[in-house]
Symmetry: C2
Subunit: 249 residues, 2 copies
């Protein structure tokens, strides 16, 4: 099956069968993902592979104890990594200047592009993956658990295994809502209605609004899932952790 | 051909034939890439499609006049976008709190994952792409050219077209250099030698060091390509632009 057909049917997978994810297959996918474009061919990322139950136990609270962390055969933590390149420079009479915001953004970009190639390859192979957005909420706990040195910052976590569920596919916004021709077309109330009403009318979303005693689906996001208060507190933590890892802002 | 086989042979493509990239094909790929995992199913990205010659002319200096920008039939600028979600919230009696660092990281992650799914799909279709790392160097010029509003920040640019060259594939570091088992294994001088000597010994890299009168390949990066001075100046610009776009640090 072509990737485009895999994608058209894809869903995130949170329940995995007992079937092993062989080291051979995992390494083949991790290596092929290394063909992803990368800044100056520096490959500014590292992947930490977690298979050990005790290590999953340590990582679990950093991901708000989402059950996939302990249940998945493999957990991958993908990091923006300027440490390896910096060590290379230091060993080669070169003076590295990669302890800054731009270098973090460069390395995070490399790491996220790598991550997504890996996800496409894994899903093409029939594996199921789930992306844990929690990685950037509690980076300090992950840094401690995986012993990440200076200039290494976790930016993505993926749980990987053979699917043991067939969840319904979630909706997506229409193409016209996120693609702009030549210049950005801002959103009028009419366009917002056009793009978001189908999502708001889905029975599961209506139900979600009702059981949470909210007026609108948007309030589920602003008042419960991603609140200003949490975002601002976690922004502070993220910035402090970035600095602690040596990326000056 | 499976994606893994496409990837194993892939190279970035900087020269494109005259063959048109049809709107139908482009939209099919942009839409399928929308199946990429996304935070809270919010799809925190936008894509601005550039086909117009005058718009390419405007974008070109932001990308240091790399010839692909004007030569490619299609240029895609992918943006971290919390504007659309914020507008949705405002139209739905919800108070959005997405003008902070964490929200930028969330949206940039969504945008970069989307970008890479698109690249995999494009290459599977036989298209050639080139990722322009310059996007984060001069974001202000891109913001002006594409009229990006508050809470929209460009994070990736891709040139797209049918290949008119067959460049040699570049090297990559060995898998063991960037994959760590259970915890991060820091790099001893011996491991640096093991991982980087093959790269340093490539004839093109030896030649590059020689013609630039440098002692080591690493010095090409620290003294010429990505210097501390440039990185620090561009970090300031990036942070100022982020703030100007409404993401408070």
């Amino acid at each position: 099956m072509k990737l485009i057909d895999v994608l058209k049917k894809r869903t995130s997978i949170r329940k995995y069968s007992d079937r092993e994810v062989s080291e051979e297959l995992l390494n083949e996918l991790l290596e092929a993902a290394g063909r992803t474009q990368t800044m100056g061919n520096l490959q500014l990322y590292s992947v930490v592979v977690t298979r050990d139950a005790a290590m999953k136990e340590k990582l679990s609270p950093a991901h708000f104890n989402q059950p996939m962390v302990k249940a998945a055969p493999v957990v991958l933590t993908i990091c923006a990594d300027f440490n390896r390149t910096t060590e290379w420079c230091r060993n080669r009479s070169a003076d590295p200047g990669y302890d800054n915001m731009l270098s973090f953004i460069n390395a995070a970009s490399d790491a996220l592009l790598y991550t997504q190639t890996f996800c496409c390859l894994a899903e093409e192979s029939g594996l199921g993956v789930c992306y844990l957005g929690t990685t950037v909420y509690m980076p300090g706990m992950i840094i401690d658990a995986l012993r990440l040195p200076r200039l290494v910052m976790p930016v993505a976590t993926i749980t990987v295994g053979w699917p043991d569920e067939h969840p319904a596919q979630s909706d997506r916004l229409p193409l016209a809502s996120f693609v702009h021709q030549e210049t950005y077309s801002n959103y009028t109330p009419q366009r917002i209605d056009e793009f978001y009403t189908p999502k708001e009318n889905l029975p599961e979303n209506k139900h979600f609004v009702e059981i949470n005693n909210k007026e609108t689906l948007a309030q589920i996001f602003t008042d419960i899932r991603y609140t200003r208060k949490d975002n601002e507190a976690l922004s502070e933590v993220f910035i402090e952790t970035l600095k602690k890892q040596g990326f000056h802002l």
